[in-house]
């Protein structure tokens, strides 16, 4: 797949906040439809696409999940020429002052997030970062026009356009986890023309950033034999602790911990080594903070794996990622899917 960067840039140029993923879902559906046998939207808005295997019915199935929803903001009220806001997903209020945003009102409006001068803030917030509840959006419109176009509940997304840096680096908002979605697209392309024993479900999940609602319900509906969450992970960067981060451009991370089935980890480790795809092991002592957390306990339970793509400045509008890492992740997934034989699960043991 040669057009990964344009695909990823397109993915991060459309909105699709948690719970309101329609714009990005449409784009992903267009990209995936020609590459899959069956595609549909779940009741909670996840996109389910199937590459059907050729094994005898009932076949085992693998679910690959990357979440398509974005963090952002939502209008809570109007005050003259200004909007009050709160978060959708985990937003760091410290990065907001001065950010350009798009307000999805009766029409799309451009706005900037502003921090009032300290004398206009509550006494307990006159020092330090201004709390989200005290930040405002200025659209440049007068109060009357604003009230006509915006109402509480309207969504606000980051307006930072994607920028390519020197080399293979891409900067933009929502690379968490549209980079994971792009890795799935890459995987689908790589699997074109290849025969698969297993059914492979490609799932772009909804609402991960809020409460994993997409993964919880898609896992229940699709009942996969195995599930892999592809999400971003922390890349080493100025200001980030070295022991919690992984180098950019040096391959994906393979998760290890209670949220990951040890046999799956081993299978990926061996595969990566065989293919000479560089990787790092990421120890995840508790909650992986990914869709795998929900998928693992869907219905009767699912063995899960977490694959991370290192990303700098997570949950800011200037997330940075190496497109090489996205490609490596997609390739690793494709090779894993293609390598699955019908008796794969029977080869596992808990007591290795």
């Amino acid at each position: 797949m040669n057009d990964l960067i344009p695909h990823l840039k397109a993915l991060i140029s459309v909105p699709g906040l948690s719970g309101y993923e329609a714009p990005v879902r449409t784009l992903i559906e267009e990209a995936w439809r020609p590459l899959t046998d069956e595609i549909s939207t779940s009741r909670l808005g996840s996109l389910h696409a199937l590459r059907r295997g050729t094994g005898p019915d009932p076949r085992p199935s693998l679910l690959l999940a990357a979440h398509m929803d974005a963090i952002g903001l939502i209008v809570t009220g109007l005050s003259g020429e200004f909007l009050h806001i709160t978060e959708v997903g985990g937003v760091d209020a410290r990065v907001l002052p001065g950010q350009l945003v798009t307000i999805h009102g009766r029409q799309e409006l451009s706005g900037v997030i502003v921090q009032p001068p300290s004398h206009l803030l509550p006494p307990n917030n006159r020092q330090g970062p201004v709390l989200l509840e005290n930040l405002l959006i200025d659209t440049g419109l007068d109060a009357e026009e604003l009230a006509r176009l915006v109402r509480p509940g309207d969504l606000v997304s980051f307006a930072q356009s994607p920028i390519e840096l020197y080399g293979d680096m891409l900067v933009g908002h929502t690379l968490d986890d549209r980079a994971g979605v792009a890795a799935l697209t890459y995987c689908l392309s790589a699997l074109q023309g290849r025969q698969l024993d297993w059914d492979i479900w490609f799932v772009a999940t909804s609402q991960e950033e809020e409460n994993f609602a997409g993964a919880i319900t898609s896992g229940y509906q699709l009942r996969p034999s195995l599930a892999i969450a592809i999400d971003v992970t922390f890349a080493s960067a100025p200001g980030s602790p070295a022991h919690e981060t992984f180098p950019m451009g040096k391959g994906p991370t393979l998760g290890w911990g209670p949220n990951i089935h040890p046999s799956l980890y081993l299978a990926f480790k061996n595969l990566a080594e065989r293919l000479e795809i560089s990787y790092k092991t990421q120890v995840i002592p508790r909650h992986s903070g990914t869709d795998a957390y929900a998928l693992q306990i869907a219905a009767e339970g699912v063995p899960t794996m977490v694959i991370g793509i290192p990303l700098r400045y997570m949950h800011t509008p200037v997330e940075m990622i190496s497109s090489k890492d996205v490609v490596r992740t997609g390739r690793l997934l494709a090779e894993f899917a293609a390598s699955l034989e019908l008796d794969f699960l029977e080869t596992w043991s808990w007591d290795e």
Binding site: S79, D92, R94, V114, P122, G128, G140, L165, F234, M314
Partner: protein, 361 residues
Amino acid sequence: MHTTNESNQTPQVGAGQTSLLERLCNASAVSGDEHEVRQIVIQELQPYAQAIKIDSLGNVLVTREGRGTNRLRVMVAAHMDEAGFILTNDEDDGIYRFEVVGGMDVRFLLGKLVWVGRSHTPGVIGAKPVHLLTSEEKKKTITLDSLRIDLGPGNGNQSKIGERAVFATPFIHLGNSLRARALDNRLGVATLIELVKHPPDNIDLLAAFTVQEEVGTRGASIAGYSLNPDLAFVLDCTSAYDLPAWDDSENSQYNTQLGAGPAIHIAHKPSLSDPRLVRHLEQTAKVENIPYQIRQPGSVSTDTGTIHKQRSGIPSVTVSVPGRYLHSPASLCRLSDWQFTLALIHAALARLTPQVLATER
């Protein structure tokens, strides 16, 4: 020399002027490196001026002489520079330590795209992910010391220490407003360019596009000395803090308000405006039916801070376009405030006579 009738017309803010403002705002001119804006100023004024002088600090000085006798020599100054960043250390692999040039709230820096150098190479000022923050870190303002400009690994030292950087914010029209980086003071620059293109002929117009205002009004000081005018007007952009208070109580410290017209400065910390010039501006506004506001006295200086002290003293006053969120990634002003500012300053200059200075101070 370009001599057309348009010189005598009253200048107005229209599509041509806003598109010039857009070019000026998208140019980068951190104090000490005003090159990009200076080039636009020179290019714009070349057809209108006999001589364009660049002085020892980089101020652009343009004189347009009027006609008749008893002409006042009137300096009009607008600073070209803006607050921004300068790369100070190369920490390898595209990571640079930097300093702030001019006044900037460090809380604006996190998570922004910047342009580095005259090539406008994109880079980012990132932030430690919210997921990894301690609750203490969330409550504290980040220190500049812990921030870096990141041009991406493999940048191959395309940029060098000493290069300047600015927020990468595009210019945009929003309803009746304009939003851009560095409206402070490209609004003043654009206004002064219009005055030089259409100077009133009752005065000698001594235009000074100054440098290094944001680091101590340094350019204006030598420009004031060398031009040695009878009086000076400064065109700037001043803060509007006209936001709602958290408890909806009345905001009594707004400095200026958007939509209320040009702001006439009466007093800042380092200078008091000449009352005769303040009166002259107010009378002009009333006669010409131009809305105006008095900027709330106090706070920071403009170029008048150093101009008024040159040689044996220069009567001076500042007129500003009110703007919100100055020295941040995106400032915002009303188009009408700019239109009225240009109208007011032009009319005030056209009505100037030596009599104005002859009255009691």
